[in-house]
Each structure stands twice: as C-alpha cells, then as structure tokens.
Symmetry: C2
C-alpha cells in the first residue's frame, strides 16, 4: 500500500482535513499551478452548522454531507485520499499516514478541533459529542433508544434518567440542539409514545458563564434565553459540570441531575499533530500562525480554520472558531500560495466578520449583523436562506428545503430511525440460523 500519488513537476500542496477551511483552499487553488492532495478520515465534507438537525431527526446525514470525490470530479491533478495522519516529518517534508507517506511542498493543517472534556474522564466516557455526522447520528440513535427503554423501565428513577436530556454548553450548538429537541418533545414525543408520560421528559441546558450565545450580542443572548424558556427548556446559567457518576451529572455546587443522555457541546480543543513542535501550540490547543497562516517556525507548513490561532488588531486573542474565518483563510491562502510561487508579495489575513446567527426553533432565530440585530420570524428566514446558499450541492439544497418545508407544515420530523450499518461482527450472530434445510 502507498498513497500512490503521481509524481509531477508542479509544487504539491497537501491539505489535511476537508472542513470549511480545507475544502475552500482546495477549491480555490489553481490545479494548473499546483498538484493538490486532500487527506481526510471520512470521504465527505460535513456541513457542521446543521448537525443539530441530524440529532433531532430533522435531516438525514446525507443532506449535510457531500462526497469529496464528487465535489472535485472536474478538478484535474487533484487527489483525494481517505487516510488518517500519524506524523508530520517536517525535515523531510513528508506526511506519514495510514496509507503510507505523502511528500509535500506545502502542507496545510486544516484538521479543526475536537470536543474538549476538560480532563473529566467519566464525562468523556459517557457524554455524546456533536462534532461530526457520525456523532450526530449516534446521538439520534441514543435519544430514540432511550425513549424506547423509558417505555419499558419499571424503576421510576431509571425512567426519569432516560427521559432527561442534559445539554452542556450554551453556545450556538447547545442552543440550537436544545431548541430542536424541545420541539421534538412538544410535537412528537406524545404522539409517538402514547404509552409514556412524555410530559416528564426534560430538556436541560447547562452553561458555565452567565449567558447563552456568549460570542453574540447581549440582545441575542437574552432573546435566546427567552425563546428557549418559552419552549420549555430548563436553562441553568453559571452552572459547572464536574463529573458524571451513576448516570447522574454532578454539578460544582453538589447537585446532581439524573440522565442517560448527556450531550456535550461545551468546548473544543485542538488535537496535537505529532511532528509539530510543542511550542507551536497556543490557547485551546490551537496552532500559532503568522498573518499568512504559516505555522510559527516552519517555512512550508500552514494552518487554517479552527485549528489555527492567528491574532490581528481587532482580534488580539485570536479569531472566533467559526466557518467564516475558515473559509476566508482558505481563500486567502490559495491566493498567497500562488503569489509565493510568482514571488509576489503576500497579503496578510484580516477577518471580515459578516455577522453571526443561531436558530432556536420554528420562526425563531437570532441574527447579529454589524448594523442590524434582529430576532424571530424574519431572522429565521434569513438563517434558512443563508444556510441553504452555503451548503454544497444542488440536490442537498433541494433535499433540505423539502425536509424543512415538510417539518414546518406537518410539525413532524420523520427520520426517527435507529439505524446502524450491520458491519460483520460474526461473534454476535447466532450460529443456528446457518443451516441448509
């Protein structure tokens, strides 16, 4: 086995990770000038802003995932490789991966971040993160299975633990998933589970700081709080989780909340890449880069997107870890790599903040723009349009429009399926069914 990438006279750019940053870079790079290699652990781009709708059975994974190979069908001298990275040998300019070594002229780290459990091993072992399609799908399965178990649980305490959904983290993802699940509870649970007292189901949102949507305006924060309250979400601000034991979330003040569905969207951290010197890592495990996204101390290694830590006047502690920064860095790096090739001066990165938004539920979203802040129905429509325009693929757009329209009209998310691919795990199978009768 080898990565099997043809030799070329062009400079080779190897990109690790096809999130917003890596994908944009690969798209923007001119493959007449560079050979482009994209390495990812999965074979599709994930549109993370809508992950929470996979969790709440509103969208199929396929609606927010797009195969890399399809996306780059018309790009010459582009190579996708399904692989995980084991080490970067910066001296030899080689990326070591699960499918062999890949030489590079320029290496771009666009690996994003991982869920941060803040060192709590019990939480880590039990909590369900929501950073990928696979994780969102596992969470969907868990929520549905726990409801099934609640139907047949005889112990009232256990039943309550199965009916409580605890979401830790009051950022956009936490707010959005809390809203979506509260709507699921309101419109679906009682219809699907007539034999269960679903009014006892609780959606509990826990946030360490004193407000929701900390990165947005005061107005946005208080409106999100109000919307979620109206929708029946129990919100606990200034509340810190310190452990998870016996199916109970343990809070700093000693209180406990029983739950078998602990959703963890409380923070992220960069995952260290073996081979990158440890002095290159800054706050939150992010990789320190200069104004051109070059990793400190390396000539040919770059980092873009959430994993990079870049400061500028307006952002003295670094940019927010959002899609817009990733996309803009991807675009600029493509330009700068071309400029570098032609000995043209490079352009330093400046983040253009186009605003931010979050959705809480039906007709309820929150939009912060520079001049304007608005919430409610109009914000919700803006939110929908922006997300539809951003997602890859015409068919995905159509699929999402239909799903949204359908859910809106019927008050129903129809994807309440507990599906797992039946990978061959022969041990488990009953041998008796294999007889030639």
């Amino acid at each position: 086995m080898s990565a099997n990438i043809p030799e070329t006279e062009k400079k080779r750019v190897v990109i690790i990770g096809g999130g917003f940053a890596g994908l944009q870079l690969a798209k923007s790079l001119d493959s007449r000038l560079f050979q482009i290699v994209l390495v990812d652990k999965v074979n599709y781009h994930q549109f993370q802003p809508l992950l929470y709708q996979v969790t709440s059975s509103g969208l199929e994974p396929s609606a927010i995932a797009f195969p890399f190979r399809k996306n780059f069908q018309n790009k010459k001298d582009f190579y996708f490789r399904l692989a995980s990275v084991t080490r970067i040998a910066t001296d030899e300019k080689v990326l070591e991966t699960s499918i062999g070594a890949i030489k590079y002229d320029y290496l771009v780290i666009a690996t994003g971040t991982d869920t941060n459990y803040f060192g709590m091993q019990n939480v880590r072992a039990a909590a369900l993160p929501m950073k990928s399609v696979s994780e969102a799908l596992a969470l969907r399965n868990r929520i549905l299975e726990n409801l099934e178990h609640a139907v047949t649980a005889t112990d009232p305490e256990e039943r309550q633990a199965l009916l409580n959904i605890v979401i830790v983290g009051g950022g956009a993802t936490g707010v959005e998933v809390a809203g979506a699940l509260s709507e699921m509870k309101r419109y679906i649970f009682n219809k699907d589970y007539p034999d269960l007292d679903t009014s006892k189901a609780r959606i509990i949102l826990i946030e360490g700081s004193d407000k929701l949507l900390r990165n947005m305006s005061e107005e946005a924060s208080s409106k999100a709080f109000l919307f979620l309250k109206q929708m029946g979400v129990e919100i606990n601000l200034q509340t810190v989780v310190v452990d998870y034991k016996d199916y109970k979330v343990v809070l700093k003040n000693g209180d406990t909340i029983p739950t078998k569905t602990l959703i963890w969207v409380s923070g992220v951290t960069g995952k260290p890449l073996p081979g990158i010197h440890e002095v290159c890592y800054g706050r939150g495990g992010r990789i320190l880069v200069d104004a051109y996204n070059r990793v400190n101390g390396y000539q040919s290694v770059f980092a873009i997107g959430d994993i990079s830590l870049q400061t500028e006047e307006l952002y003295p502690v670094g940019h927010p870890q959002v899609a817009q920064v990733a996309i803009q860095q991807g675009k600029l790096l493509a330009k700068n790599l071309i400029n570098g090739l032609n000995d043209q001066p490079l352009t330093p990165f400046h983040y253009l903040d186009k605003g931010s938004m979050a959705t809480v539920g039906r007709n309820r979203a929150i939009v912060d723009l520079h001049q304007f802040r608005f919430q409610g129905l109009f914000a919700w429509m803006v939110w929908m349009i922006v997300h539809l325009l951003s997602i890859l693929g015409v068919k995905n757009k159509i699929q999402i429009v239909i799903n949204w329209f359908w859910s809106y009209v019927t008050y129903d998310q129809s994807l309440r399926l507990i599906i797992r691919p039946d990978d061959k795990t022969r041990e488990k199978k009953d041998q008796k069914d294999d007889q030639n009768r």
Copy 2:
C-alpha cells in the same frame, strides 16, 4: 424492566416482526376488538424491494424505512416494543423477550427469513448479505471503502480483488443489485476515481441454476440476461460457490475469483424460534401452517409471510416468499381473527398472484403479469409507479421520486458516503486529545 403493556379485557394479539406481513396485520386488525402488540428488533418498517438502491448509493436508508411508532400514531390500544424474542412458552401463552415476558391470546410469527449460507462458514464470515437496511448500508460502505483502498493498493492482485464485485444469487435481488452496480461503474466510477483504472472493475453475477429470475417467465429470464450482458455484467449460470478463501470465491469446478466484495443474495432460510416444536418446520426452515395460517399443532399461534409454509392446490410446495403473499396473508388473518372472535366461519387463504417484476437499470425493467409480459421502458415505468404506490409515507414517496428523477437526469447517485454512527468505543480513542489547554 418489563414489557409494560396495560392489562385489558380485550384479546391481545402479539405480532413478532413488522415486515410486510406483520405490518399489514397490525394495520388491518381492529383495535376496538383486539389489543395489538408489535415486537420488532428495529424501530422501523423496511421496504425491502428497494434495498438494492441503498446498496448502490441511490437511496438513503430513510427513504425506505418508516418508523413504526409514527405509522401507528393514530391507532389506539396499539403497542410497539423494541425487543428481540428469546422463546415462546406456548403452554403459558407467553412470549419471552429481551424486555421481559409478554402474555398473548394470539401470537403471530411474522419474522421473515434470514440469509442462507448453506453451511459454508467461510462464506458466512465474509459475505455481505442484503436483507435489511443495516446490511445494505454496510454493503454501501464496503463498496466505497474498497474503491478507496484500490486507489492506494500497490499489489495488482489485491487491487483486482478490491475492484471485483461478486454477486451470488440470480434472483430478483441479485439481478437488481448487479444492474445498479454496473450503472454505478459506468456513470460514476471513472468520474469519481480519475486516478484508478476503473475499466478493470468487474461486476460478476453467479447463479446456480440455468437461468436468472427463476421464479419469473422464460421471457423475463432471457431478457434479464440480455439486459445485464449489455450493461457489462459478467453472468455465470450453472455455477456453484463452494467456499471463500484468501479473498477468493471458490467455485465447484475449482475456479476461483478474487474479490473483497462478496454479495450474498443466494437464498434464505427460516430461523427457528425456541419454543415452537421442531416438527413444525418444513422446507427452508419455514413454519408449517394450515389454510388459516395457524401453526400446525397450536391453537393460538399463527405464522404469516415468508416464514410460513402453506400449501394450496396451485402451490403444492408452498407460496413464493414475496411481499404480495405476506400482505394478503396479513389481511386475511386480521379478518379471520375477527371472525374467530364472533364464532363466524374462517376463510382459507388463496394467493392471488398479481404478477412479478424486477428492474435492471435505466429504462430497463421486466414485468410478468397474467396475460401480459413486457420488458424495457414501459415496464420500467410500471415498476416505478407500483413501488412508489406501495411504499409507506408521503414524504418517503416524495424523497424517492426526487432521488430517482435526479439520478435519471444527472446519471449520478449522490449518496456515496461512508457513514457510521460513532457509538462510543472509548478504547479506540486517543487519550491525548482530552486535555484542558
């Protein structure tokens, strides 16, 4: 834990399995007269006729799966239970399950059949069946992963084994999946894998008898053969698989075919249910029933659908294991249970064969009706309409129409995603990424 089904004065009908037979029975039974309990291992009905399109990335699992709870939202005194059956205690009229015991007045076995590996353990361990959504999804993942591996395989023999897809079984499923994969090869492989000589990919269909679609007309068989040949499928009739070793299918004549994708749709067998006396099982592991689908020797136990073996004048060795029989038996049993309650005479089952059909590819299907047999474009349109009308749920219908239309116009199946729910398997995870930085 207990199955937790409320006591009632009505007679309780417990149905094991929500395939075509069980679902139809549950729908047709009047819940003012009976309490109905449906037990299944998954929480959704699967529309098996379109499984092959999940395999070939043409349809999402959700398009052909429909949650039981949603389906029966408006049915009073109906209880769905997600459970697997461990034993039937016929003397006490109790069904023992993974969630506890369920008493019944009438028990209906509608468990369908399992894949039959004819006692070949190596085949069993390696081959991929296609009886459920989960299996079809695993197969989709396998096909896509093997293509990725083929890109980076350095050993030509290994690469060829990755590029060969061997389908064993020339019934409707085998013919349909062979056709779908050959179209995927023709329209997708070369576009998605410019760095792979996909002309070397082979779709090989193996059938033990002397024709394809053995249960259909001669005309249908020969047309299916012709269509598949034209589409580049290699068809081996009168060819029997005896083993699978070193990634090679071993044939009875000693020949071998290297492959890492062995699709097994060659036969089915009933899975014995502990508690049902062994004399009750007939050919193919099916449960012998009388004209009213009552299991031989039991008063209150019935079997319907593929698992049942019932003979009548026109079908001296039993009915074909197809959806139509299952649906008709489900309907009639509902009627007969009601008649039994009212001491009315029961109606014996007679299968009304409405015809059968299979699709091979774009514009190419095969329809056998009583008076008419036709193949090609018109058959293909009939096939589409019949399947669309049969599938549950308006939204599923819409989703499928859009997918079909899209694929037809673009020659593209867009769901080429290798997705697995990320169930917590902590051992595998790198501990290093869990630090509070």
